[in-house]
Amino acid sequence: MLQPEIILQLVWTGLANASYACLFAVAFALVLRVNKVWNFGQAGQMLIAYSAMFIVLRWWHGSMIVAVSAGLAATVAASLAIEQFGFRVLRRRRASTLSYFILTLVLSQLIVFVGELVFGTEPTTLTDSIVAPAFALGPIIVNVWDCEALAATVALLLLLYLVLMLSPAGQNMTAVADNAALAELYGIDPNRSYRMSMALSAIFITMGMLLLGTKTATVPSTPLQQYLIASVVATILAGVGNVFSAGFAAFALGLLQSFSILIVASRWQPLVVYGVLAITILLFPRGVGGWQFRLPAAGRLAPGSARAETAR
């Protein structure tokens, strides 16, 4: 019999555990929207963030603040490098999406392999203990970590929204996302927007890895093998171009995975994501419509292309 406490608990845990997935999805969707790249290199960025924080916390026994700063610095630097020396070169060459896919995938793989050489393949966490103090909130058990994670996620989402809507740099990003050629005519430098979106995604990625690393154990290949595909699915579900909807989609996916425990054993839970991918591609290839929080949609998939939208 399904008691309401169980359902509430599953909802709460599902949402809390999806907090970092939301951050990863938003990062991915943002780069797709602005830079027009399916950034599979995100797995590599995730590992860099984790590694930097890991080194500070576990090898040098530094404080959390130093660790997070190091993580941010390393990831932002890496992200800017990827944009400057990777995407920009391909963009200049008018490369097809094929090259971007190969570049980003292989880059992630390279970073994972280097990570395995440096850190080995034993599972690790950022903090010694990943069990946080818990308390009862009505019928459910609530973790301090859960609250912090959700609060951080909401705060970051709000911050991003404010940046995109109110700051000139953010508005430029939106303009470039809609039509880079046109934006350039108006005096906006697209490259600056591209760099900015990569930097913003780096921030989301770092914070997400902080949450992930304080919650569960990972190995270097975990971001690539597990979390990247979830971000991709969330992005597709939301529809290409809808950044915040991708975040909500990530929460929805998290809830779905959380509830799937009622039906399948935990080892099958990752299949939920693949199943959703299959269904989405078959039935809603352009995303689930209607309720999205829509920033003016870009719609085009080809990087830097000013080609008109084609139906087929």
Binding site: F101, I102, L110, F113, L224, V232, Y274, A278, I281, L301
Partner: protein, 299 residues
Amino acid sequence: MTYLLNVVILIEINCLLAIGFNLILGYGGLLSVAHPMFYAMGAYASALLTLRLGIPIWAAIPSAAIVAAVASIGLSLSALRVSGDYLVIVSLGAQLGVLLVFKNIELTGAASGLGGIPSAFDGAARAPIHAVLLAVVVLAVTLAVRRLMRGAYGRAITAMRNDEEAFAALGRNPRRIKIAIFAAGCGLAGLAGGFYAHYFQFVTPEQFDLFGTTALLTMVVVGGTATVAGPLVGAALMTALPQAIGFLDLPVAAMAPLQGTVFTSLVLLFLFVRPQGLLGGRRAGGGVEAWVGRPPISP
């Protein structure tokens, strides 16, 4: 001696994989990261057909190839409805998902894999016989690809890669061609899997993970995409390289990441510095970008 022959056989199996991958990426212009998964499908299918259903090996291996080819159609049909880009994503999901299933169900031996797979030949001459047999298969496949690409089909693929819209406006169906090429490539992967299973007689899920895509990318990008001989050269080099560090079929802890680092660095290097690979022509851009294959000779 057997060790050397094992390397040769591994090279030959990798040739089949690389040729198939090149068909899809170099000629078809599609990126599928699920090639290792189809390789696994072929290996497991052939193994199970012989182990559980007692089907003779000479029938099981081609059947496994067909299974892989047919399965690929499901993938390509659904993904290409949207665009070639989605094939990357769908194949990623398939690669991760199917391997997860293989790792967890009893039928495939779960994480320990399948052992005791029957071999076609036994005795001392086993290795040389397999080496020769596979050499014949690789040669046949290479010649078939060459024949295909030198004729009107190759012409059609060139046109399709040059300008898909203009190609379609002539009444030719680009998607049908892509699906067919994808099926051929994945079928070859399945075939390779079958040969692997019955020679090395042992398969585990880890052998078929995402890293396989990187290895194949290296072989094809380094050898030269959209060339007939490129994948062969690439396969030979990239199989011999790790062997030079004295490493057989099961990866050792630090060797794998080292090998991976070398492979990925090579791909990135070639992608930026010499995109047409070792054998590709010097036409504009080359490699995965512009169409580099030699245009077929007209009558």
